[in-house]
């Protein structure tokens, strides 16, 4: 009584159900992320997540083991052979925004069993992850190529409208 048509429909439905989780998970992954927790001297970064996923494919390259995929690095595999996925995979959930504040330092040094004493802070994690890879590949490596300076940033770096005017006839008179 089950015609070929019924088999086909149930087959497609089953396929859809099986692949739903995978597609569904992919559907939770944002295509574009505004990285702005530390934006002060520079504007927020408009990060093209989708492009990076299609380029890198392996989530562990940036998210360590937090997405459920396993890491390949020798130093990590020692302990994290079968580590689970974590609830949040955003960088800022593990990497502190102010890694050298007195509180963070105290917490770090008082917990003698804490293994990752050398975990970078949030800003360091962003840059080391991004620049580290971009220098090997063909990504942008200049500061302004990823984020533009804010007004405060221009003032700090003495650039743009805050650039120093050339001193008139400045000689090396007794200079260093």
């Amino acid at each position: 009584m089950y015609s070929v048509r019924n088999w086909l429909i149930s087959g497609v439905v089953m396929l859809a159900l099986v692949s739903a989780p995978t597609i569904g998970r992919g559907a939770n992954v944002p295509d574009s992320i505004n990285i702005d927790p530390l934006a002060k001297l520079y504007e927020k970064v408009k990060f093209n997540h989708a492009k990076h996923i299609s380029l890198i494919k392996d989530c562990a390259e940036c998210h360590h083991h937090t997405t459920g995929t396993q890491v390949q690095e020798k130093n990590c595999v020692r302990c994290h052979k079968n580590s689970e996925a974590k609830k949040t995979v955003a960088c800022r959930s593990c990497h502190a925004a102010t890694p050298f504040s007195a509180e963070v330092l105290r917490a770090k040094e008082s917990d003698r069993w804490l293994y990752h004493q050398d975990k970078p802070g949030l800003k360091g994690a962003y840059h080391q992850s991004c620049i580290g890879c971009h220098e090997k590949g063909k990504g942008p490596t200049g500061c302004k190529e990823c984020h533009a300076l804010t007004k405060a940033g221009e003032e700090l770096y003495r650039t743009g409208e805050f650039a120093p005017r050339p001193a008139p006839g400045s000689g090396k008179h007794g200079g260093h």
């Binding site: 001297l41 130093n75 102010t98 890694p99 050298f100 504040s101 007195a102 330092l105 770090k108 040094e109 004493q117 050398d118 970078p120 802070g121 800003k123 360091g124 994690a125 962003y126 840059h127 080391q128 620049i131 220098e135 490596t141 500061c143 302004k144 700090l156 770096y157 003495r158 650039t159 805050f162 650039a163 120093p164 050339p166 001193a167 400045s170 007794g174 260093h176």
Partner: protein, 305 residues
Amino acid sequence: MKRRDFLKACMMCGAATSLGISNKAWGAGSFEGYPDGMGVLVDLTRCVGCRSCEAACNKEQNLPAPQVPFDDKSVFEEKRRPTEAAYTVVNKFDDKQGGGPVYRKVQCNHCNEPACLTSCFVNAYTKTKEGAVIYNPKICVGCRNCMIACPFNVPGYSYSSAFNPVVKKCIFCYDTRLKNGKPPACVEICPQEVLTFGHRNELIKVGHERIRETPDKYVDHIYGEKEVGGTGWLYLSGVTFDRVGFDTTLGNDPIISNVKEFLGTVPMVLSIWPALFTGFHLLSTRNKDHSDHGDSHSEQEDPKP
């Protein structure tokens, strides 16, 4: 001259010369540093030469405006050093052996036994317990001996000031940050986290651990761990240190060790010379009339007419 007068005079002069000449040499050699001393681990493999540290330092320490903006990379064409207007600078070194350029941040290394401190004759420098080497511009006389003594050529001097020239150097942001437990401005702004702030003893362990975990990435040496008695700012590098402007001939003795040999002779001379030369005098005038040698002069007096 009468013996009594001579002895009186000797005591006067001896007392006068020994006043204040108490040369205490600092204990060195096995000094491990201050237990609460902070430090900074500088990982040169991470630095990309963005010069944010220079910009942050300039703002934090109210330094004069630079000649070119801080995002101008043309300054790397020549090697710079810290000056009165720039407490820290970054220099670029081309690594021909395959890697890209290596950047190196230069600033005061906040030594455990600073040569500047030991050479200052008005004690203008202080090594705080937090580890910063700071100085007091109010008593600086301007002898510039500290600039001669610093093995890293760090202190700058404001020669252009006519009425208040003083030594200028990195003070670990002591007044504004370190005193309150906060990291210095350059550490806070560094995007690549080249600079890791923490207790010096911990940082040495962290540094060795980094070398251990990625041995191909680093030279197996922390510069500053032992050099000139140990410095507060420690360096890790991917290329040998002499290729990025470090002086690798310094040795592990603090600078004061060189000076101690002389300082040790001072109390010897002060105590032995008086007796030695009085002895010479007595020996050489043995057979001569003692009352004679002074009096040939003193008799040329003018009796009042």
